[in-house]
């Protein structure tokens, strides 16, 4: 491996979070962004073709070295590492609304889910998955919520654009008589990108 690839390997090993290209570039001030990308590719190939158990994963706007999926079960069985605890259904639904509608206020989340959202919002905030991104201009200037990079880490996404577009979901309750609910369908389509 080239020295830069080695340096990047060391940095990714030392970090416990995704490291951005910009951060990697500061490792070696002489190097260009293109050098860093080349070195990353080199490291990735090194891991992929030399039978390594870890791989370079692009995640939440950065790069992280993670174990390969194939080993998850054995690692968990031996209790070597703790699997990230699951979110509740309410938490997931709330995240879904926020991810697609952000910035979004509590009232809108509650309207869509049909239940009060205070407790869920609080715990999502405590886990660092959402944050207050501003205030609405509406009455009472309610807080508006948005997602954080930590959510991308949780989901294993590079960025929010990787979320599927709303149209890609088949809504299971689609009627057998589509002509009867044209307007309903139109109303139900959620803007895919914020």
């Amino acid at each position: 491996m080239t020295p830069l690839a080695q340096l990047i390997e060391a940095a990714l090993f030392a970090a416990n979070r995704p490291i951005t290209l910009e951060e990697l570039q500061t490792l070696e001030p002489e190097s260009s962004m293109a050098d860093v990308r080349t070195a990353l590719d080199e490291l990735r190939e090194h891991y992929d073709f030399d039978g390594h158990a870890v791989e370079v994963v692009e995640l939440a706007g950065g790069y992280q070295v993670l174990t390969r999926r194939a080993f998850a079960e054995a690692i968990e069985r031996a209790q070597i590492a703790v699997r990230t605890p699951k979110l509740t259904a309410a938490g997931m639904e709330t995240l879904a609304v926020i991810a697609y509608r952000q910035p979004v206020g509590r009232a809108e989340i509650e309207e869509i889910r049909g239940v009060s959202a205070g407790g869920v919002l609080r715990s999502l905030q405590e886990r660092g998955l959402i944050e207050v991104v501003g205030r609405s201009e509406g009455a009472g200037r309610p807080l508006l919520y948005g997602t954080t990079p930590l959510l991308l880490e949780l989901l294993g996404l590079r960025d929010l654009a990787e979320l599927p577009r709303a149209e890609e979901f088949s809504v299971a309750l689609h009627t057998h008589k589509p002509e009867a609910s044209d307007s309903a369908e139109a109303a139900a389509s959620v803007p895919a990108e914020s």
């Binding site: 990230t84 997931m92 509590r106 869509i112 049909g114 009060s116 205070g118 715990s123 989901l155 809504v171």
Partner: protein, 280 residues
């Protein structure tokens, strides 16, 4: 599209209850479940039947305190009434009162699909581990305690029973033996003209010995019987036999070379007290 329903959770400032049944995450979820169960076409919901089933379900589930479910129940009952209103065949401009409900159900269904996708993504991601141990993120706060009086009292009894009985210390009076120390010092003074503080304490002194000896020495110095001097800072101090000023006024001031002189000034004005005592 404007949402005709203002946020309906004014009552829901705090969670009224925690839905124990994981199956339902809200009234819309329950409603979808009922529709699916009956294989009902969402475009033509038999509102009367569904409203009755919904009411039966929340009664059955014991959810009757939940504002969110009650709000939906109220909405269904109102819809049911609206559907019963007479209308002319093919009337223009008639809007199906179920429209809004259908819109919400479809929207919620979409949210469910997205949530399922997010969950799958999370699971996939959780299959890969970063280096080293990451402390698990903080647990969701526990649901509010639901206790009745009996349970509370049982808990209190349990706590009380675990309190250890108080440990009582027996306090033994250990008065300072200043008189004994004075006697001992006087005996030493009778034998030697000068000795150090450590010698005055003797081997293995207890804290009582130390304090008694110190007080006795100060008292002797006050009476002008001894002179206390410290040759240098932090050195052990020296105790020197002193003849009361009345008998031998010549020597006192010459003693302490550098260190602080511990002999209290008050010792000098009162030699009269000690004059009768024989110098040992």
């Amino acid at each position: 599209m404007t949402t005709p329903q203002a946020p309906t959770t004014a009552l829901g400032a705090e969670p009224a209850f925690v839905v124990k049944l994981d199956a339902f995450s809200g009234p819309l979820d329950l409603l979808l479940h009922l529709l699916r169960e009956e294989q009902i076409d969402i475009a033509d919901i038999p509102i009367a039947r569904i409203a009755d089933q919904f009411l039966a379900a929340i009664h059955h589930l014991g959810l009757n305190q939940a504002a969110d479910y009650l709000e939906m129940a109220g909405r269904l009952v109102r819809l049911k009434a609206q559907m019963l209103l007479p209308r002319r065949e093919g009337e223009e401009g008639w809007e199906d009162p179920r429209h809004e409900l259908v819109r919400r159900l479809l929207e919620y269904q979409l949210v469910r699909e997205v949530a399922a996708w997010l969950e799958r993504a999370t699971e996939r991601r959780a299959d890969q581990y970063p280096r080293g141990y990451l402390p698990p993120p903080p647990e969701l706060p526990p649901p509010p305690l639901t206790l009745d009086l009996l349970e509370l009292m049982k808990a209190v009894e349990k706590v009380i029973s675990e309190i250890p009985s108080p440990v009582l210390h027996r306090v033994v009076p250990r008065p300072l033996d200043t008189e004994g120390a004075t006697r001992r010092l006087e005996e030493m003074l009778a034998e030697r003209e000068e000795f150090t503080w450590l010698e005055a304490l003797g081997p293995r002194p207890t804290i009582v010995d130390v304090l008694s000896t110190l007080l006795a020495l100060l008292e002797l110095a006050k009476r002008g019987r001894v002179k206390l001097a410290q040759p240098e800072a932090f050195a052990t101090f020296v105790i020197r036999r002193e003849t009361p000023a009345a008998e031998e006024p010549s020597s006192p001031a010459v003693e302490a070379p550098t260190g602080a002189e511990l002999s209290p000034e008050t010792a000098l004005p009162e030699p009269a007290d000690d004059a009768p005592r024989p110098a040992d």
